[in-house]
């Protein structure tokens, strides 16, 4: 294998990892703050892609710009989702909360799947939007994926600053570390939980926009994606934002290299790495 192919695969894996991390980031954030494993996260991504598709077909505007319209809508959706379905569960403790959240979000996920299929049809939907790729000698870099990676890097910095410099961010971190302690310090942890869900949903919808541009969507992609992103955040360390970024990159690179030599085994290889990491570090890489 030539050096240029190795570099090309490194680029491909890194860019793909960026797309994975974008969605996993939101899932990790929600778990970190609320201790809720949101299995509807993949459906939020699907809805982001679906609404982006609907808006694109109606206006033919740049789908990346259209996502700016979607973000406030999805923030509201996530906020209300938490208020309506998750908050009643927060009275429960420890593993009871985790199990209840899994069941509720799985139910919500199935409902979203059926509703989307009923109203917008079950067929494949993709956006015919392409940006010229960047050619460097024999190597080609996908501009959209590069944009996705830049987006996630900027997002990581922005979220980092938000968590460190703002009151809400500090309250959010405090809630992550000790919910009761934060409450005693006057933090409205319930409100923080809703805001976190809103932000997590925005991140999922942003990943959905990239997803529908790069691949294609159907109402049924959500649950398998939720499981994939769950693996990423487990690999990186539950609740760790940088861990989800690292987990996404490892998965992307594994799939790229296995996909070149033995594409049939790319997903098996990814899960093999997940199990190996968990055996060595049960709390995940940065957990």
């Amino acid at each position: 294998m030539s050096a240029s192919i190795v570099v090309q695969l490194l680029i491909i894996g890194t860019l793909q990892g960026g797309i994975y991390a974008l969605a996993a980031f939101g899932l990790s954030l929600i778990f970190g703050v609320s201790n809720v494993l949101n299995l509807a996260h993949g459906q939020f991504l699907m809805l982001g892609g679906l609404f982006s598709y609907i808006l694109f077909m109606a206006t033919k505007w740049n789908p990346l710009l259209l996502s700016l319209i979607l973000f406030p809508l999805f923030f509201g959706f996530g906020f209300l989702f938490e208020r309506g379905l998750i908050r009643p569960l927060l009275e429960r403790k420890g593993h009871e909360l985790v199990i209840a959240s899994i069941l509720v979000t799985l139910g919500a996920s199935l409902a979203i799947e059926d509703i989307a299929s009923f109203f917008w049809g079950p067929e494949e939907k993709g956006i015919s939007y392409m940006m010229p790729s960047i050619q460097m000698g024999s190597m080609v870099i996908s501009s959209i994926r590069l944009l996705g990676l830049l987006f996630i890097v900027l997002l990581t910095v922005a979220v980092h600053l938000f968590l460190k410099k703002t009151y809400t961010g500090r309250a959010l971190r405090a809630t992550t570390q000790n919910r009761q302690g934060a409450m005693l310090m006057g933090v409205n942890t319930f409100r923080i939980g809703s805001i976190t869900f809103g932000i997590g949903t925005i991140l999922a919808s942003a990943a959905g926009v990239f997803y529908v541009i790069l691949f294609s969507i159907t109402p049924f992609i959500g649950i398998p994606l939720s499981i994939k992103y769950l693996c990423i955040i487990v690999m990186g360390g539950l609740g760790s934002l940088y861990g989800s970024l690292l987990g996404g990159l490892i998965l992307g690179l594994t799939e790229a290299f296995t996909g070149f030599f033995a594409p049939h085994w790319s997903e098996t290889a990814a899960f093999f790495i997940l199990v190996t990491i968990l055996l060595i570090r049960p709390k995940g890489l940065l957990g």
Partner: protein
Amino acid sequence: MKRKFFISLLSLVLLLLATTLVCAQAPKEILIGGTISVTGRFSTIVGPFKKLAETWEKQVNDRGGIFVKEYNKKLPIRFIIEDDKSDQATSQKYYEKLVTSDKVHILIGPFGSFLSFAASTVAEKEKIPMVMVCASDKRLFERGYKYSVSQLDYADYEGYLYLEMLKKEGKVKKIAMFSEDTLHSTGHLKAAVAKAKEYGFDVVLNETLPPDIKDFSALITKIKGLGPDVVYCEGFPSFEIPFLKQALELGLRPKEFYAGHLTKPVIDALGAMSNHIAGVAYWVPGFKFPGKEDYLSAVKTTGITWDGYMESAIRYFSYQALENAIETAGSLDREKLMDVLRKQKFTSISGPISHKADGSGTIIPLPIQIQDGKFVSVYPADVADGKHIFPTPWK
């Protein structure tokens, strides 16, 4: 004389009585049972077909139903359709229910080889005819089953006419071939690779990939290095669309792309870049066989388009096969129906249909190409609507 008259009168009375009894046994309607993947992964291909079944039911009933000679009258039809959720076990469970609880007269198959593999076991066990739909994997017909038939020839042959066209044109040397790892597509790929080699093409890639794979970047890098003239991708739209999008985005520009299940969502997802992608179809508007208007009316009433849901044509000519079998058998007796189905010869919307001894059919798809956003049949010349544009004039 008096005795003779008495015997004749008695015979006439008995005959009338028998006829009345037989007529009294005539069912109120012909019950046709089947499952459709209204939800689950196959719903992207056949989700709206429950409505298509209802539309065809109305078309037939508006004509008075299907004539059944045994009862000397036309009987209306009624579908009992269940959602198999694209799942083998669910489909099998519903077929059991359709036969044992709903007491249907004949079964119409679920979608595709994968589900038919399980569903047809019910037909075989209960000895009830099943007209399979979109079921063409060779392994289905190697089981020696007696109660299921398909209109399609083996999936293996799906790409044959396309490869034959390439051979005749003589402009291709190297082909990169791959498929998703599903029952239908792996059978297709294996046979297509063998045929391509037989035709003297250099098959530079022969791979199967997981059906739910979305990122093809590594494969595309590999294909670029191999420099094929034709990239032959066999899979369902959920597999093909991401591949084609990424291939075009990453600058893969072969002389032609082939996609095994070329449908309108491919055009929608790729826009102008979909131009000149080749594939195959079981029905194209250029066909001059009877029933075309009824089929187009049925898809319109269903709220779909023929090119958005190309499998609708296969389902429609499977309905035609079912109707023809009942009419020809003149009976709803399972054995008589099955006997007719095996020997059946009639002209469907996609041409003549008959069945081989193993239950497989004779219909194979024709090469098509996207030209200016439309599907154009390009081979063979006698049914082609246009010419095969090769190589793709990349802009």
